[in-house]
Subunit: 405 residues, 2 copies
């Protein structure tokens, strides 16, 4: 008898009918002779409604109270899902994060899971019950309700799969799996049967919004193999796991585009060793994440520094930097809100030169300007004009032969 | 420094603006130099929405899951209320029923409070914080969330006031207090400055829907003096407490009408000692509450038995009884769904004869038929035709001089 952890996201449990549909899937898994532990999110929209109500009352709500508030979304879904299983005559019992033994640190609204003590849960599994656990939430050592931040329900599922040493972990969502590119922009995009943690991480951080990076990192750390698949059909999904030997033959696994980017250009900086460090420290202190940093020396020994930031942080960067320029004795900043990041990802890249060259050639053929280039071991990222991002994605997807045959 | 427990019902915290209004009232209470513990209900409508969603999924939802579901209503309100206080710069912290130490028995959806262990709560009060407690909910000895059933938030407030030995308990609702009659039907009705627990109980059980009986009973048992008042104005409310000597001078305290009643008439019962007992046992087993029982012997030694039941139980009574008639060797049943119960209540009645007579005279003057009469120590109840109930209430209200002078 296998123990399977299944996670259903907000759209999968969005309304009464969908919750019934999820219950039917769970029942089928039980009928196949499995023990099942289910993690569910809040119904889609509920969390945003709660946040809107909070902000209408207090523009800067206390984070402890925010967790108290947001935890109700998942608590509603677990009860409804258990009731739906009872209607199908499947024994089931709901667990809040606290009841499931999910112990977090003391940070509110983005707590980290410290430990899972699933004693009660294990007893109920052994007694033949399906367990429905509220995703996204836990309890800290002071007995306070905490939430895990974005992608928290995925994390709950992966962490429970690790703690229970589950045989399988299935992440049900509204897409069929991980694709070689976003199927909405690239119609030839193919679903991948499997992908390594590292490739998934690079794709996730570059805008393939299937899953948050932290859940994939957690799965990698604890060796939890999981499958990303759709709750709306029975197609097989994508298996995410440690890289295996035959993966190495594949140079490029997929293409990702992130359109919510801006380019920040700092010019005329005095060429001191610490100039860039001061600037990056100031941005870090303002919680602005920079990426694709390029520095070059211009005329008269003055330095230019260019990088990308999430679009919504561009204004913050422009506001924060002049104070630093004053200390450094010079500098100007400008932000350009018309950038997209295009990445190709693949573990095979490590042993294959020329990936960047091949990308640049494909884009040159389409007359698409490349503004910045950044490379890592398994990824090449280019900054391109946002209005050419879809063309660029298609051109690169074709150049690497990722399309359907 | 006085410790005050305040309870705000669902209409008082019905939306964002009303929650802000409640926060302002709490702030004013704190500014007067008081320590404040607040109990809040779910926003009005939320509990019914949750129940509707549950019933759409499972017509007979499991009671444990129902409690898991319903507890979210109050959990939302406590977080929002705490945020509203923070916006007014009042230190505040929310508590679920479990966190407030409210320990219940194992019965789901209508749990009884067994004990309150408000250790953490007391520490936060001592630290100068306003405590916002989720009404209606607790935790049982197995770590399961329970709810207290109808009127549960009032009960939470009264029980907390008892456990904390609060100096004052204020029940905020959408009416100004307890009136001599329903002000919607009797425009001369007067608000009472004070009323005894027993009078309040008799009025509550007879349809003055200010508060559920169980909360008043709990208050009487533990000697918790509380005030019923409106959250929408600053009028003083009605103080509910043990009877005091000067109350005895007042014969009748108030009039109540319950229109949701039916009369059940059982005729031609064999005159056996156990006939009525068998019938009442069968009704009790079917959870049908009977009231105003009258038995008389008709012709040929056959017995008639008449009583009132809540309107929605009339059909159940008619269905349950024929099986009993078969065992008893005779009997017929008919239900009349056109009855209202009119009660006058007052502790002074104990020492004053003639209250029933005075009521009957007042009704006779208006040509209102009285179908049944029942009396207790502090109450006289008459069953009257439902379409004359308002006339009857006004006539009796005037007869006892309860109107405004």
């Amino acid at each position: 008898m296998a123990l399977i952890v299944q996670k259903y996201g907000g759209t999968s449990v969005g309304d009464v009918e969908r919750i019934k549909n999820v219950a039917a899937r769970i029942k089928a898994t039980v009928a196949d002779g499995n023990q099942v532990v289910v993690v569910v999110s809040a119904r889609s929209g509920v969390t945003n409604e709660l946040i809107a109500r909070a902000k209408a009352i207090n523009p800067r709500p206390d984070t402890r109270e925010m967790d108290m508030l947001l935890a109700v979304g998942e608590q509603e879904t677990i009860a409804l899902t258990a009731m739906a299983l009872h209607a199908l005559e499947v024994p089931a019992v709901s667990y809040t994060g606290a009841q499931a033994g999910i112990v977090t640190d003391l940070v509110h609204t983005k707590a980290k899971i410290m430990n899972i003590v699933p004693t009660a849960l294990r007893n109920d599994v052994a007694a033949g019950k399906v367990i429905i656990v509220a995703g996204f939430q836990g309890l800290n050592a002071q007995g306070q309700i905490t939430t895990l931040g974005r992608g928290g329900s995925d994390l709950t599922a992966i962490a429970l799969a690790a703690a229970l040493q589950a045989d399988k972990c299935e992440i049900y969502t509204d897409v069929d799996g991980v694709y070689t590119a976003d199927p909405r922009s690239v119609k030839e995009a193919q679903k991948l049967d499997e992908i390594s943690y590292d490739e998934m991480l690079e794709l996730a951080s570059q805008g393939s919004k299937v899953m948050q990076s932290r859940s994939v990192e957690f799965a990698k750390k604890y060796g939890v193999i999981f499958e990303v698949r759709s709750s709306f059909n029975h197609n097989p999904g994508t298996l995410v796991k440690e890289e295996v030997s035959y993966m190495e033959k594949v140079v490029v696994r997929g293409v990702a585009v992130d359109k919510d980017q801006a380019k920040v250009v700092i010019s005329n900086l005095p060429d001191k060793a610490a100039s860039a460090a001061h600037i990056l420290r100031a941005l870090a202190d303002a919680s602005i994440n920079v990426d694709m940093i390029v520095q070059n020396v211009g005329h008269k020994g003055l330095v230019n520094l260019t990088f990308t930031v999430p679009k919504e942080d561009a204004h913050g960067a422009v506001k924060v930097l002049p104070a630093i320029f004053e200390k450094l004795g010079g500098g100007e900043v400008a932000a350009y809100d018309n950038i997209a990041k295009l990445s190709v990802v693949g573990v095979g890249m490590r042993t294959h030169a020329g990936v960047a060259a091949q990308m640049l050639e494909a884009l040159a053929e389409q007359n698409i300007n490349v503004e910045l280039i950044a490379t890592s071991e398994i990824k090449v990222t280019l900054a391109v004009p946002r209005d050419r991002a879809d063309d660029a994605q298609r051109a690169v997807h074709t150049a690497f032969g990722l399309g359907k045959v």
